[in-house]
């Protein structure tokens, strides 16, 4: 094969590789959002239907249904700061496939409304990016967790940026591993900075109100604490 042909072929190969890389970026940054948004909206809808019909699985002692449906979703999280209609499913587990379908609940941490730390993880970018604006949350912002029987209202109390290995943020008492919990708190983790995985953005909150589903009036609670 002549040198001319070798150069020609390798040039075409490099251009092809470049196009494939651009395609990958488009898939990761755009297509995963399209697919995940569709799936997550659908899961929220079917959860809400189950809650309304009263057909959701009963909740065990740990605040999580003993038998969770096929997709593993058992609650809906609403954060008015992220938009009036922001609603994402909470799914048991934090594996990669789970986080593509919603917000993942760290296995072994407290259930919604339970004493201890109800810890969840969500994507900051891609796959529907439920926690894209997690850095916008300020003290007093509400995080509402809807389950079959109760609606739990948490309020944001603090934020921190930690390293990926700092598991003490999801301890029963955040940042105090080994201490027995007396309060019901919430922890949300996401990646930081955006499009990177070098750090984690962590938001803590505490339970301020538990409302039985029958008395739940969305308009009373689903507004941002402060405007801005």
């Amino acid at each position: 094969m002549s040198l001319r042909r070798v150069v020609g072929w390798s040039g075409e190969l490099l251009v092809t590789l470049g196009v494939l890389l651009l395609l990958f970026a488009a898939w990761q940054l755009w297509w995963t959002d399209v697919v995940a948004d569709r799936a997550q909206t659908q899961i929220v809808q079917s959860l809400e239907d189950e809650f309304a019909r009263g057909t959701a699985a009963p909740v065990g002692d740990n605040g999580i249904p003993a038998a969770i449906g096929e997709d593993g979703a058992f609650a809906v999280v609403r954060i008015p700061r992220f938009g009036d209609d922001f609603a994402r499913p909470v799914i048991e587990g934090t594996d990669r496939p789970v986080l593509a379908l919603g917000v993942g609940h760290y296995v072994g941490t407290a259930g919604p409304g339970q004493v201890g730390n109800f810890a969840v993880a969500g994507h900051r970018t891609t796959y529907g990016r439920p926690f894209h604006d997690v850095d916008q949350l300020v003290d007093g912002d509400r995080v509402v967790v809807e389950t079959a029987a109760q609606v739990y209202v948490y309020e944001v109390t603090s934020r921190e940026i930690v390293r990926p290995g700092d598991v003490e943020v999801i301890a029963p008492v955040p940042d105090e591993p080994g201490t027995a919990p007396t309060e019901a708190v919430l922890t949300m983790t996401s990646c930081h900075p955006k499009y990177s995985a070098t750090e984690r953005f962590v938001v803590h909150g505490r339970l301020v109100e538990t409302v039985p589903r029958a008395q739940w009036v969305p308009s009373r609670w689903l507004t941002a604490a402060t405007e801005g």
């Binding site: 986080l99 970018t125 891609t126 990177s196």
Partner: protein, 52 residues
């Protein structure tokens, strides 16, 4: 490489162009469905959990 592909495809110019377009779409579909989802976990852009 692409010149060889062009010569291999049958039919007049417009038919070859259509075949090229279909082939390109097939490649994109395969990438979106299988290749990219398999590659993504190997890249460190989307980790959002804390863990040891």
């Amino acid at each position: 490489m692409y010149a060889a592909l062009w010569r291999l495809l049958p039919g007049p110019g417009w038919a070859r162009a259509v075949q090229c377009l279909v082939l390109a779409l097939v490649v994109v579909a395969i990438c979106f469905t299988w290749v990219f989802p398999a590659v993504s976990p190997l890249l460190p852009f989307t980790d959002s959990t804390v863990g040891p």
